[in-house]
């Protein structure tokens, strides 16, 4: 049996979680000076780790397209102005899943938990660097400020993403293999 149905459904469901986290504002955590942290990219990482790079790409596209639509018709914060540009909102998000998957695959022969955590961090860093890089290249923000945002928002987001990725995937795989008890 080929895995197409599984890939389609997981991509759709993870895309829905990403949209849901954004639309319900559950995916935003208030942070310094109103620049909220986001975990909307975590479904992309989890989908990529579970089902591979193409699924990650599809979820990343849904995440990006939704953040573009949301920025345009239902803005939540001040920075939404930038995200109406697809080079900021969509293109960088396409890379989150494939990068997270590559990192996970490279490390998964060792400790699974560490591989998941590092994949979470790698996916987040991809998002932070590419989105801020796009803002810099489009001359919307001075590079000095971009460096500051990368540190103040990027680091806590990476930690959060790693925690959630590990918690969800470890719990899910345990259910699948029927093991009980905590290994985390």
């Amino acid at each position: 049996m080929d895995q197409t149905t599984r890939k389609i459904v997981i991509a759709g469901v993870m895309g829905a979680i990403s949209i849901f986290l954004g639309a319900s504002h559950l995916g935003f955590i208030p942070w310094l000076a109103g620049a909220a942290l986001t975990i909307m990219h975590v479904p992309v990482i989890i989908g990529a780790v579970l089902e591979g790079p193409w699924v990650g790409l599809a979820i990343g596209f849904i995440f990006g397209a939704f953040s573009l639509i949301q920025a345009a018709i239902a803005p939540t914060g001040a920075t939404d102005v930038w995200f109406t540009n697809p080079f900021v909102s969509i293109v960088p998000r396409l890379f989150i899943g494939p990068v997270a998957w590559l990192v996970y695959r490279a490390l998964s022969s060792g400790n699974e938990i560490i591989a998941l955590g590092v994949a979470g961090v790698a996916g987040t860093v991809t998002n932070t660097v590419l989105v801020l890089g796009a803002l810099g290249l489009l001359r919307l923000l001075p590079w000095g400020l971009i460096g500051t945002i990368a540190v103040t928002n990027g680091i806590p987001e990476a930690i959060l993403a790693a925690i959630i990725t590990v918690a969800v995937v470890a719990a899910w795989k345990r259910i699948e293999t029927g093991r009980t008890g905590s290994t985390v």
Partner: protein
């Protein structure tokens, strides 16, 4: 305690905002509307010309008028952004020097430099954002999500010959949209269950670590419940012999009419003109005319 409204998530997760006025724009082929949105976004992003953006703005406003969508509806998305938009434009004007050929310094104070280019960049930012918001609102006011997914699938179909999984991708989008109300319901149930056990989701709580620790008991089960639902859906689809897009027939057949071709041709014309204008530096001519005759 903020009351029960804290748990009401369902009402907040609508995508788009379909407004059934039954106008000519609503009856356009969704494929055509999708292409028009893509053309518009491309033109907005590519255009460095104020004249071009004014043209696009005129096109989008005339679209809103013929769709019989009240302008204040479309502008509603813009209002909360306005203060910040102005701040960003200001930042663009004073903090990011735009040099390049022919830039003249208008004003300088310690590290702040204002050139005519940077003023133009600030104005362009506001114009670009306004056109984008109105254009995307026009699309979402006049297109249902079902039409949208049909449109995506039909548009991508020719690419299937090249190995692009068009049908599969359209199904992914469809599942994501259909799953939203289910997810909202599950999240509501989880929040109530955790709250009945004394959980406080810390809305308004600004401490990062407390906020996060309180969100985890909601987020992790939400992911797991969704994955469980996904497994059920996979099983249901496989039990019904779902085999992907090969040899599939469709209930709804999209048929482009004359009005679709006319709309598409006019939008394509405007987009081409706008891109042409940014290449010929129409603004430079207008700017020169203004400085010669008014200053």
């Amino acid at each position: 305690m903020a009351g029960l409204s804290e748990f009401e998530l369902l009402g907040r997760v609508t995508i788009g905002q379909y407004l059934p006025t039954g106008s000519r724009v609503h009856h356009l082929d969704p494929r055509v509307k999708l292409v028009m949105v893509v053309l518009m976004i491309t033109a907005v992003v590519v255009s460095h010309s104020l004249v071009g953006l004014a043209l696009l703005l005129a096109a989008v406003v005339s679209g809103l008028l013929s769709a019989r969508i009240p302008l204040r509806f479309a502008l509603a998305g813009l209002r909360p952004m306005l203060p910040f938009l102005l701040l960003l434009a200001l930042l663009q004007v004073v903090a990011i020097p735009q040099y390049g050929a022919g830039a003249t310094v208008i004003w300088r104070w310690s590290i702040l430099t204002v050139t005519d280019r940077s003023v133009l960049a600030g104005v362009l930012l506001i114009a670009r954002f306004t056109v984008m918001v109105l254009g995307i609102s026009l699309f979402s006011f006049s297109t249902t999500t079902t039409e949208l997914t049909h449109g995506v699938e039909h548009l991508l179909r020719p690419l299937q010959a090249l190995g692009v999984p068009a049908h599969e991708f359209a199904l992914v989008v469809n599942i994501a949209i259909r799953f939203l109300p289910i997810l909202a319901e599950e999240a509501e149930r989880l929040m109530k269950a955790q709250a009945s056990r004394g959980a406080d989701f810390g809305r308004g709580q600004r401490n990062f670590i407390t906020r996060t620790r309180r969100l985890l008991p909601l987020l992790v089960p939400l992911f797991l419940v969704s994955l469980q639902r996904a497994e059920e859906l996979i099983e249901a689809m496989e039990a019904r012999s779902y085999l992907g897009g090969k040899g599939r027939t469709h209930l709804i057949h999209l048929q482009a009419r004359l009005s679709d071709y006319v709309a598409l041709a006019s939008v394509a014309g405007v987009a081409a003109l706008v891109i042409r204008l940014s290449l010929t530096n129409a603004d430079g001519m207008v700017w020169r005319w203004l400085t010669e005759h008014l200053l």
